[in-house]
Symmetry: C2
């Protein structure tokens, strides 16, 4: 038995989210169905770094699975992709130690949220960006982003039905970048609560529109009350961009010794 780690990109539009649900088309369900075919009907369980909701996309989701087949790692992507159609793409596969775990070993994640600021609707990004054709004050959004960066109890930015007890997380970086007619918000941190990035985005939009003061963010965090934060931004603007593991950090350290 050999354990494989894969980096997976998917268009979340046509799926009821990542996680298997009876009677629904899910990303995990599609990948497991293809793996079962390759294993002559034998079920292969796939474990991801975390779920993504219906409509949410991934540029670099990470999964792991075990297989007794002696397929070289570099051959797995083509083998899986030829059966997956184009909505889910395996970008990379590598052999990992038998105790590697896509979820428990993840030490951080990056999410990105794409706002399309163009005046007109655009049929080509309607499922890939949230159309927000109103003025935004980026300087105020950046001020709010600085207040949100750090180690805090993010209860105000978490869906109220979340069962996790410990809502303390560390956001290491929030970036705002204009790309053509889009504004891309990048969120890096050691972990994110349920709906956290979408609530952070909704709150930053309200700061940018003038509906909320950047200076009021610290008291909003302190209140630990979901009802005081902004709206949950729509799923289709959100991307799980990258998942970080210890080996990744070591690699970056060795390749960039000055950093």
């Amino acid at each position: 038995m050999q354990r494989y780690k894969c980096v997976v990109s998917y268009d979340g539009t046509g799926f009821a989210g990542y996680q298997v649900q009876p009677g629904k088309r899910t990303v995990q369900g599609e990948i497991e169905a293809v793996l079962a075919k390759i294993h002559k009907g034998e079920a292969v369980k796939v474990t991801a770094s975390g779920r993504t909701d219906s409509g949410v996309h991934a540029k670099g989701q990470v999964i792991h699975f075990d297989s007794p087949l002696s397929i070289p790692p570099e051959r797995w992507p083509a083998a899986l992709n030829s059966m997956l159609g184009g909505e889910i793409v395996i970008l990379l596969a590598e052999r990992v130690k038998p105790d590697f775990h896509a979820r428990f070993d993840a030490i951080g994640k990056e999410y990105r949220y794409v706002l399309y600021l163009g005046k007109n609707k655009n049929p080509f990004n309607r499922n890939y960006a949230y159309h927000y054709p109103y003025p935004l004050n980026l300087a105020k959004m950046e001020e709010a982003a600085r207040h949100l960066t750090g180690r805090y109890d993010f209860s105000s930015f978490c869906a109220s039905n979340t069962e996790v007890a410990d809502k303390v997380r560390t956001i290491t970086d929030i970036s705002l970048k204009k790309e053509d007619e889009c504004l891309v918000l990048g969120f890096k941190g050691n972990g994110f609560l349920y709906n956290m990035v979408r609530i952070l985005t909704g709150t930053l939009i309200e700061v940018g529109s003038g509906a909320r003061e950047a200076a009021a963010i610290p008291s909003l965090i302190a209140a630990r009350d979901r009802t005081l934060a902004g709206k949950t931004a729509p799923a289709h603007g959100l991307y799980l961009w990258e998942v970080f593991y210890e080996d990744w950090v070591q690699k970056s350290k060795t390749t960039k010794p000055g950093v």
Copy 2:
């Protein structure tokens, strides 16, 4: 009765082409259905600059229709877009003379063809670019493009079942532009035959891959034989980008007197 000209963008993925066909979902069919609703069930005929095939997109298709309603032109886009969903977007509407005709008055068109050159499949452009992950010699493609620019009988680059008698057309410009991991081919001309841009693209790809010589293009044009040209490139990489009318030329002349 007032005639309106509209610029329309659409994602061709979910449509059986532009033109109405019984029992099929088409761009024209959707727009006419929405116009009928606005006109209390009265049929409104929509005329376009030309058809696009199934899977082909439009950034700037042009249509015209007549309406007895006294809606200001600037209000038409919002009225139609709210009922069209996001796949078809009316970008602009303006009142035109009663004899304006979207097809007969068009003096030229621009098409673009998008090749995605990335090594991996990309789930986000699978319906919007043709994935071609092999090397292309752009200098040779540009040489071939120069041979194809001009006034010629383009029978070699036209689907063989086309009924049009006169296959002489003028291509005024073919451009190649790298944009991130894509190569965008732009074709401007006074008119294009059925499948012409897709056959030109397929032929240019064969020149770029080394399967065909750029210097052999003049004899390929002279042969007037479809079987000698390249493969028809897939529909989903093609965009009707812009349609040109006389007033557009006059406007450009007045705003750019030096050109």
